[in-house]
Symmetry: C2
Subunit: 694 residues, 2 copies
């Protein structure tokens, strides 16, 4: 795999909903926090000046001119220092699982974002302090070993407005912007604040730091680098939100109780600098040793950053934890059809976050609906289901509702009731089977059994007419009809009823309930779940065939070939379900395997360049969903890795989505939606990937 | 004066640094708070739908389309209701001192921003609660009296991102956006929340409210208006900032201790709705009765809103009050050369704010410098002076510094030390002479006398060579030279040394010190001040003449005719100094009067259209400074009001600065700087204007 340098990626922290986004040449980035929906608006100026040769900086900015035009005309502030961009082709970037590093002629910049296991706050918040610090560590190296002249290194950000000031506290020197974002280095490194309208006015033409001019919106730190010296500087970058973090359901960031302000966070990060760098290096090494191919190592490293940058650990006034993952640019809170794909990553490190999401859905964003059967005007008893999400952009929706779902529609924004009725028990069973959290499961027997009831009724109100296929519409839809998570893909996947993707997920939900309820001693319910999944197996075995594959709908008209037909098999695969572990796979699984091989080999689900295609009737793809299909292809059916496809998928992200960090929705090789997204961590299901999480 | 409708103006509240800015057609506005530098980003949709004829709204927005493109293509959410803009020529707007009202065929919208005397927080914070509520009251009228059909009225804002939710509390129904901005009406009005991607998706094509779709960034309230009915709705609009308000010097908004959250503010405003509307009406009536001409009534009403929208009452953790006025788009805190022009307004209503600004400058942003005399390499003893400002955008500068001033410059951004050495005692003396705050003055004898010392030394270090003219440079300038507040106007006014504008202000400072020190029993100092002002009088009497006027500099080369030559006379005029009250004006005053008549009658200080021009060698004008010159022309010299000029000045604001609210810096009839500015309240010095502040 060739070096890829020119792309944005999140650099965030656990539960702090913030990022120092960096990497795209010629674009702003830098800090964004409390609103995870896009990269920040900071122009980043990072580099070195030596003598009168000007300031050479990495190309992480759009402009270099001072904006003093509002005050008067002309060159008011004396001669600026010439600013030169380091040529992109001379920059080497290495994205690892724990660090992201740039090297160029004058030095290096390494952002460390290590992650790992996080203790359960219900066992005591105190143990989480270091885990929830809202900031990251970087290591700056200014290399002046080849020169007999003194040089000046700078790290400065130009925002859209002034408001920065110096920070001098406990042995560190930094810059803070309205108490919300800031960065600092140990005073022992010789750091001094700089500020001005632009970086070319922060240094004299001779390359020396000027006195700070805080009226300007550019501010940062500068270091004198003696001749024949390499200066290595730990640099903490942090953010801080005061006051309530969420409304509707009121909460604050967990970090707000652990830290009093930005300065305390910066101090914490610098105190832990050696540990943070070591852990980042260890993650890099573990990924290298995992056996994953370079393309997959790169995608996974990118995706993990998207997850953390969208994560939010909150605390209510009664000390209850709330875990929220924002849906990237859409900023929806804990979208359930994302949660069910992210669980595989969460279970490796902090399974309690899944538990919290499950409970908050159950307590606050669940409901019992009624059902309609197409062609029948009666309203039938329904069952428990769950909302699509919990709200948007830090505003929780009214209990029992989502921000997304609207009545009377047949496509995007309609209700996703059937799918979420499947997703919640799938998420719950995966949590229980992966984490072994039996105590939790025992207390949720009631709702698990209600889910089973509801899923059966959603096949058909009349038990005699249940056929292992979702066949009803929630009355919540009004005059509309239910959709699936693939709502914006194409009609082949958008409609819920009779959808092969949902049928296989329904099987997984029944199977999960069967396993969990049996383990809890609920024999009768477990047997009922077993019978129900048998119905689904029959349905799959009886599914019509077209051109050698199973079309998306069993209506006899569908001609769509879809990869997500096999998506539901990731769950039993992850549970190590004995049904999939033996030498002989069940017949319905084999049929799905044949389908998968056919749509791949037949080219139905491939783009001309070899990238995987979710549906033969749509040009849309979601990378996180492709990863699930790949995991099943390799993990369940033993197909070889499609290296060519992985290479194409890398290109969809960079250059295809280089402006945005990890991006999920791709059309024609470019990210067009689901930008800055958390769901890419489904890649943890690739064979071997979990070994990197040591 | 013709009706003027199409312009933005602040609608703010005392000390709450916020505004619901409205009035410019085809532009966003709405809420901005905690950053007073520009109008908000809200598109405002206000109007009524009747039957299938669509929604008719005032034209306070740029676009009407739903942005669902990130989710999928096409018209996903059902048919939108057609949106029609009310034709601008059918809208009547009336801007009064207390209310701003629009009337159109379907109703009216009246924003009430009454203001008045505010008690001193050092007498107890409790009495300020109602004064510091961060919000305003509006009165909506939906007029359906002419129809037999039911109608729906709406008030909705479309921001740049979602995050709104419904507010149901204590008899009110509202919408809040992330707890930071919100609006509400009594539940008894039948208000119900609406939300969607755009206003055309908040109502059905039949004009009925749809269920809210909170994923959209448009949200608001809707009311059903029965046939043959006029519905009158009090609507509270509020904002709230949590956490620290300022850094560098840490403080919170005074309103944060008076109110727990946005809902409490909304409740307070609706509880006081009748009183707020009555007080707004009273201010309108008092202005009408003041005898001010329509043009001046309009400018004053506009200017007052700029002041309040930039005002900030803060409270430290030790309960000390801090008063800050932000410098409009530049957002500098308490720029001293603005404070000295705003004092005349403040003294009428809340003289204690001037006191707080004076003390904070003295305690935190003063210094003692050294002086240089041009052509002399020695460094001489200096004196006390004050910084240009206290910081920028809620970030206080390091004690002893401003955000603005930089060394080694000869123009904009250089130090303003001489002028601020004059401004602080002028501000102090005006406060003492207007408010009679003798107790405060007695405690400041020391610094007042130090100011006198310093001003004398700034003429020349050698007492024998003092000639009533500033003649030194502060060593703070380094290799540069001092400027004045007119830094960006032209060289005639920018240079401090030998500047006629500063000479007359220096006279006023000496005269103020003479009066105040004498009243405090400091006879010797008072006499010294009297002798010093005598020197200045001599200097003015000896000033060279060119073409019948006094050029800006006494260097024999200057050919600039400037109106600010007389600016310093506003102070003794405001103090009712006996020197100006008698029948015979002193000789130097008469000479300044001749200068003023000459530069006006000779056209030096007029633009071709009749607007006043501050300097014959610059096309820049500042409206607030013109008001000072007008006040002197009419109040000191008895010149008749220049009605034609007032008409031209109105045009500089609207249409000339219609995008920005009150704007000070005008070139070619358009606002080019100092936008969204507080200083226009100097217009309170117009004869008769004070009578409106009942």
């Amino acid at each position: 795999m060739n070096d890829i340098s020119d792309f944005h990626t999140h650099h965030g922290a656990f539960g702090a909903l913030g990022s120092f986004t960096l990497g795209r040449f010629g674009m702003p980035g830098g800090f964004n926090h409390h609103d995870g929906s896009r990269p920040g608006d900071d122009e980043v100026f990072l580099g070195m000046a030596r003598g009168r040769s000007g300031l050479r900086v990495l190309p992480f900015f759009r402009y270099g001119n001072s904006d003093t035009s509002r005050f008067a005309q002309g060159n008011l502030l004396g001669d600026p220092i010439p600013v030169h961009r380091v040529a992109p082709e001379t920059i080497r970037r290495r994205l690892g699982l724990g660090s992201d590093q740039w090297r160029w002629e004058d030095g290096s910049f390494k952002i460390c974002t290590p992650f790992g296991k996080v203790p359960d706050p219900r066992q005591g918040w105190e143990a989480l302090r270091d885990h929830v610090a809202p900031g990251i560590l970087a290591i700056l190296e200014f290399d002046n070993r080849g020169s007999d002249e003194e040089a000046t290194g700078i790290f400065a950000l130009a925002g859209t407005a002034p408001g920065a000031g110096p920070l001098h506290t406990d042995g560190l020197v930094g810059v803070a912007r309205n108490g919300r974002t800031g960065w600092a280095a140990p005073a022992s490194t010789g750091a001094r604040p700089i500020a001005g309208f632009s970086p070319d006015l922060c240094l004299s033409p001779e390359g020396r730091p000027r006195s700070p001019h805080w009226l300007g919106a550019c501010s940062g730190l500068a270091w004198v680098v003696p001749p024949r010296t390499l200066l290595r500087v730990p640099l903490a970058l942090a953010w801080f939100h005061e006051g309530l973090a969420t409304h509707g359901l009121e909460s604050r960031y967990a970090y707000q109780e652990a830290f009093g302000n930005l300065a305390e966070v910066l101090t914490n990060l610098l105190d832990r600098a050696p540990e943070l760098e070591r852990r980042a290096d260890e993650l890099d090494a573990a990924l290298e040793a995992s056996g994953l191919e370079p393309e997959r190592r790169w995608i996974l490293s990118h995706a993990v950053r998207g997850y953390f940058g969208n994560s939010q650990l909150l605390r209510t006034s009664s000390q209850e934890p709330i875990w929220a993952v924002h849906e990237g640019e859409y900023a929806m809170i804990n979208t359930l059809d994302l949660a069910v794909d992210q669980v595989f990553f969460e279970q490796e490190l902090f399974p309690w976050v899944t538990r919290e999401v499950l409970d908050l859905f159950a307590h606050r964003h669940s409901f019992v609906d009624h059902l309609r059967v197409p062609g029948d005007t009666h309203v039938h008893e329904g069952g428990v289901s769950f909302c699509h999400d919990m709200g948007v952009r830090n505003q929780f929706s009214v209990p029992g509702t989502s921000c997304y779902e609207v009545a009377d529609l047949h496509g995007c924004f309609s209700h996703m009731t059937q799918e979420q009725a499947i997703n919640w028990p799938l998420l719950a069973c995966t949590h229980v089977l992966a984490s072994g959290d039996r105590a939790w499961a025992l207390e949720r027997c009631g709702i698990l059994e209600s889910c089973l009831d509801g899923l059966e009724r959603r096949e058909h109100p009349d038990p005699a007419r249940r056929a292992g296929v979702p066949g009803t519409e929630s009355t919540r839809c009004g005059s509309g009809s239910e959709i699936t998570t693939y709502d914006s893909l194409d009609p082949a996947l958008a409609q819920a009823r009779g959808n092969l993707y949902l049928v296989v997920k329904l099987w997984a939900a029944y199977r999960g309930l069967e396993l969990v309820l049996r383990s809890l001693g609920r024999v009768e319910s477990a047997e009922r779940a077993g019978i129900a999944r048998g119905r689904v197996e029959e349905a799959i075995l009886a599914w019509p065939e077209f051109d050698g594959f199973l079309p998306a709908h069993a209506d006899g008209r569908s001609r769509s070939a879809i990869l997500p037909a096999v998506e539901g098999l990731v769950f039993p695969m992850h549970w190590k379900d004995p049904l999939l572990e033996g030498d002989d796979l069940p017949g319905f699984v084999l049929r799905l395997g044949s389908h998968l091989e056919r749509v791949l080999d037949g080219g139905h689900c491939r783009f001309p360049d070899g990238g995987w295609r979710l549906s033969s009737t749509s040009g849309n793809s979601w990378l996180s969903k492709i990863a699930l299909a790949q995991a099943v292809a390799e993990g369940v059916f033993g197909l070889p890795r499609d290296g060519k496809a992985d290479g194409v998928h890398v290109g969809w992200l960079a250059p295809g989505s280089a402006d945005w960090g990890f991006t999920d929705q791709i059309v024609d090789g470019k990210g067009i939606g689901s930008k800055y997204y958390p769901r890419g961590v489904s890649a943890i299901l690739w064979p071997g990937a979990r070994q990197s999480l040591t």
